[in-house]
Symmetry: D2
Subunit: 278 residues, 4 copies
């Protein structure tokens, strides 16, 4: 008995749950978990169904599709390890968290390679036996550097690309090659700060909370759909460096949590929002 | 168009979602929200379906029942104000929170009466125009006092009884008259403390977190199914009185949150656990 | 024996703690709590000393001042109820929280009056016997309306003015009349949203956290020094109205917490940041 | 200029802060941070002073001692890396967190060795170049096994011993060799559970929060003074295994946080409580 996931999204109409689960029932499949949600704002329907089957359930798909609106998106996937390429720069905390979880089978994915525009983290990746590619951005125009990154990524055919404190801005052209497949983590503050040295700004403003946001990357780097967020309290005795350390602790856990949700196919996109079946 | 809730729980078997939603679909009803869960531990199925209907959907119920296992529990209810009686003693914080929410239509229930074994809170209830009954326990055997409380409650025919810091222990006999209909709030600590003066004990142990638990009351007062929990950080500079104040802040919000979940019929019982569709 | 607070801030120099506590010691006073902090960024020193005395300790002040740098700010105050005027508009949650705490002696202040540009909350203030003044802004130029608010405030000689969801923007001229004496609460998001209908924007962006910030009001309304912040998790199933309700719960507790810190003289200003001795 | 820490605890009496800081001032030392606290419950005084000095400040100590009550404990230490031995069993998460922080200089300590009663974690320690000693408990009486652990520890002369999910109970005899020098992390629940399989019990009870507590080990294993605590929310959809994973995430961060506080000498003992100057 293997576990499968049926993932559906389409414009809402009456009877969708009944019709979809009806197909599964007629095929004698055992549903172990089911989530659905209608975004009232857009009248769109989302459904994630986990079921077990002895034989290949692929024949289900056209049958499900036939009862749904034309625009429906239907996917049948197996849970289990995704292949990911991690991009990082010089900060180790997120990459280390992912490598440890990868090493102990807790990530829901295999890290097939680490790419970086610095050599700093090579020893860390190597400790865990993961290929590390150093592609410096120095002396390259942005398109040329991105082409190299793209070439390196492609040889690994990953399911997702994870930006684990990768400090280069990606062009819309690059991002458009991986729609809804790039996940980023970045620090967040109340209020938000624009410009350089955000922890220095947060310190000068005396914020009492440091946060982190994991999100899909769209053409607008830090503005893609949010997958997970968390915060940690700080106070006046925290220097900018202390705030940055507090931020790192929350960043690594939020990133790991978001990835788990994505790899388990619990995250759907609804415009610029996510529906998260956790 | 009125909104209705169909609430089902029964032993799990294949096709339940398809069958139940099929009935709704055949009746032309519009499902606006649907949650289901199978407790793998007990192989029990739980479902909460919100739908809108122009006419009385009562005829659905026998039809749904006919396709479910014999032991199935099927309820059709309308959302909207429940009737509650609040029992309190001398502490005001939980009662005040509920009265404010009641006054502004945010409680999901109407407080039809406040009962107390002290007169202390009478002025508070009266500010909000809610009947207050003072039934001192002094000079009464426990059964006699409980009989009086029971008599007072019964004249209001409430849906639920809320213990908002009611400091009398209820007998199993009393509790059994209101199965899954009494909700209590109490402070919680890591670790737990037994015996008197828990905040003094928590202080002496130097706990760094103060918590609160809202739960259904069963025969074993503080051991019923947990509906909601939350915590608040404290430190060595908090006196026992400061800890108690911190505890009050978390208690009142946890109680209000738990009640909202219960009144919206989002809470199912599975043995001594709750399934909460939030 | 009465409790007193000695509050000092001045440019840092060696020996400040020794000199200040030396004066207290020579006067035979019993220090019960002492906090000091040097802001390394600005080389400024802050100190809050709580002590008990049988006689009037006022003679201390010139002696303390004589050993400190010229620019030192020295205040000797007694803890205990501050007088506050609360400004509100139509939302009840913050005002209700403050009124309840006021009624039960938990606010650290007496609410001497409530002012509003709407009549909506009059019944709430009246329940608690607090004078309510309705000063509509309609038909008035902003300076004229503010002059009326100022006139109403002044007749109560409050220590602090609390904006408990007062939805009018205050001019720099008004604010400059109450330096570091106006405290505001406002919702906060990760990321921040500008413009109208912030909860609608937060919903469309799919935020997973809703926050609140209590701060002193300076000429730039929402940009003054932050006193306290907190957050609450939300998810895709929260409508904008649900998010607003979650926001209200966190706003009222953050405001109450910030006020307690201010009224106990635990909050110092260091440029645009606060030093909070909690 | 080196940084030093002066750590004092003694029965409270008037003038302590003035006297102690007076000694530092007369020696021309620059205090950069100062914390003091009087435990009103026990009338005990605690003080942590951070200062910079060009020369060896050791001569201060007898001078400070001479002005304090007889029972005073005075320590002068330098901040900076402590030496720690980590004891673990089979779970990797806490050890991995400490090794990563150690490798990047974020732990405030050097892990000089890892000891275990299982061989499981040897490859992990070796990745980070830390000596690993496997001392199985099988076939040994408890005293004999502890003697071996003691022998292994002693060859590294550590400042602290960290139990990073070490699943053997230590005897009072063993613990008494390292007073206030053994730190443990363990899961915590609201309510607490005794006996085997706590996550299974937590699941069956339907807890909504999973916590972790870091504490000093005294003769009563899980009852020593608490250093830090934190929690993470869970719900009915979490299996016991999911709860355990959530617990691991909170355990590793709480342990790391507690160790940083201890290594920076911010934690004082007051009976069975801690005073934490953070």
């Amino acid at each position: 008995m293997n576990t499968h996931l049926l993932l559906v999204d389409c414009p809402d109409e009456p009877g969708l749950v009944s019709k979809i689960t009806g197909v599964l029932y007629r095929h004698g499949l055992n549903v172990t978990s089911n989530h659905e949600f209608v975004d009232q704002n857009t009248a769109y329907f989302f459904m994630r169904t986990e079921f077990t089957a002895e034989e290949d359930p692929e024949p289900l798909v056209p049958e499900v599709r036939s009862i749904l609106p034309q625009e429906a998106r239907v996917r049948l996937v197996q849970p289990g390890d995704r292949r990911i390429v991690v991009l990082a720069s010089r900060e180790h905390h997120c990459l280390a968290e992912l490598l440890i979880r990868h090493a102990y089978g807790e990530l829901g994915a295999s890290i097939v390679a680490v790419l970086s525009n610095h050599a700093t983290l090579a020893p860390l990746a190597e400790k865990f036996g993961v290929p590390f590619h150093y592609a410096s951005h120095e002396g390259f125009e942005r398109p040329a550097h991105e082409a190299e990154i793209h070439r390196l990524i492609e040889q690994y055919t990953p399911d997702y690309i994870v930006l684990a404190k990768y400090m280069r801005i990606l062009t819309p052209e690059f991002v458009s090659q991986y729609p809804s497949r790039i996940i980023n983590i970045h620090h967040s503050f109340l209020p938000a700060f624009v410009g350089a040295r955000p922890y220095q700004q947060a310190f000068e403003r005396g914020v009492k909370i440091i946060g982190a946001t994991a999100h899909f990357v769209t053409h607008d780097l830090d503005e893609g759909p949010i997958i997970a967020q968390s915060v940690i309290p700080v106070d006046h005795s925290h220097s900018p460096a202390d705030m940055a350390q507090a931020g790192r602790d929350v960043e690594k856990l939020v990133l790991a949590k978001a990835l788990k949700l994505v790899f388990e196919e619990r995250v759907f996109l609804s415009g610029n929002r996510t529906i998260v079946f956790d």
